[in-house]
């Protein structure tokens, strides 16, 4: 099958690849580019483990064709830490034991990041709604909700 060129920025750096037409963004990121932070849980849109941020919006990379991302800005959990310092969300997930097996965590963090980018001080209900497309089989969700609320508080304290 003919290869097609695709170019986008991933966590701020330019990527240009030749991929098979019809490749999902999830497979392109994991198998071609080597960013394994988005996880393939179901490949059906139901688990949210593959969530990434495309041009500021939460998307499911398992249901997105890489070619449709030409020119886009993509963020994954791999790109969040800066200079070896974890992002406040990553820190909060560790501190509140919001991650057990960790498989859902990158998707949860992406969903939470989009929420906090638009709504820096969300209510508990807003957090639950923002995470509603992401499934966790380990934690029972409460520690994840607490982590997002704690990261929001940490952010607003930093801003104050």
């Amino acid at each position: 099958m003919a290869k097609v060129p695709v170019q986008f920025t991933l966590n701020g750096s330019e990527k240009a690849e030749f991929i098979d037409s019809g490749t999902t963004l999830l497979n392109a990121l994991r198998d071609k580019i080597g960013d394994t932070s988005p996880k393939g849980g179901c490949h059906q849109g139901t688990c949210g483990a593959c969530s990434v941020i495309i041009d500021g919006e939460l998307r499911l990379s398992c249901l997105t064709l890489a070619e449709t991302c030409d020119g886009a800005a993509i963020t994954t959990t791999l790109g969040l830490a800066e200079g070896g310092v974890m992002h406040p969300l990553q820190r909060a997930f560790l501190d509140t034991f919001a991650t057990q097996c960790g498989f859902c965590t990158p998707g949860m963090i992406m969903a939470a990041k989009v929420l906090l980018d638009h709504t820096p001080n969300p209510s508990r209900d807003e957090v639950i709604e923002a995470l509603s497309g992401n499934i966790c089989r380990c934690t029972g969700y409460e520690p994840i909700i607490q982590a997002v609320l704690r990261a929001a508080r940490a952010n607003s304290q930093n801003a104050a």
């Binding site: 037409s21 490949h43 499911l60 249901l63 997105t64 064709l65 497309g133």
Partner: protein, 264 residues
Amino acid sequence: MALALHTFATVKDANAALKAAGTRYLGGGTLVIRAANEGDVSVSGLIRSIDPALSAIAIAGGKVSIGASVTMAAIARHPELGILAKAARAVGGPAVRNMATVGGNLFAPAPYGDFAVALLALDAMVGTDDGELPIETFLAGRDGSRAIVTSVSFTPPKADGFRFLKVSRVKPKGVSVLSIAAVLGQAADGTVSSARIALGCMADRPMRAKTAEKALLGRSLTKDGIAPALAAAGEGTSPITDPIATAWYRNEVLPVHLGRLLLS
């Protein structure tokens, strides 16, 4: 995956490409790519058009027109589409809503198609390059339809004239047990002067509850007034059975939820 994507600037060229065997239109991909990931090899070519008109929302002269590529998230946050926000937010979780399009929802089989239920109650027109069709005619013939849907349009009712309800077991997001949309007109004395009621999950695609609509005319929206409509709600339905609910269960709870919607 032996799947190739072909992108066209115009709907006309994309329609021409869809004439080839093994092709399918790609909207947001939440159903099409999902099917490919599950091993559906019947599709080898995905066709899409990036004509900006497909992503436009126009509100003018008392009419709303929504491009087929507009997403549920874009509708939910549009300041002038408040009446549709609830139905748009009923579709999937945040990431699905950022991808799921209006055009795709018109083709989504039950238990999906919640937004199309709202459009059916609103008596929307479905546009293609060949002209417009009433949504009821469109839904009846959608299995054989190959033409790209370009837009849906409708005349919005008064804000309090439109009601929508989705029933699911998982909160805040879950697949429908059923969904109901209603457009009701009321006379000065409060009795119902016109009614369009659309049901989701009560057949393989959104359907009208026509007997219930007739039974509402001239009645007041009280427990006694709506009783005949509730008794007739299940007429003509043939609900799906899936892991969410059996057909029997859906028929049993339909009058309960229709009652709640009408009295709300």
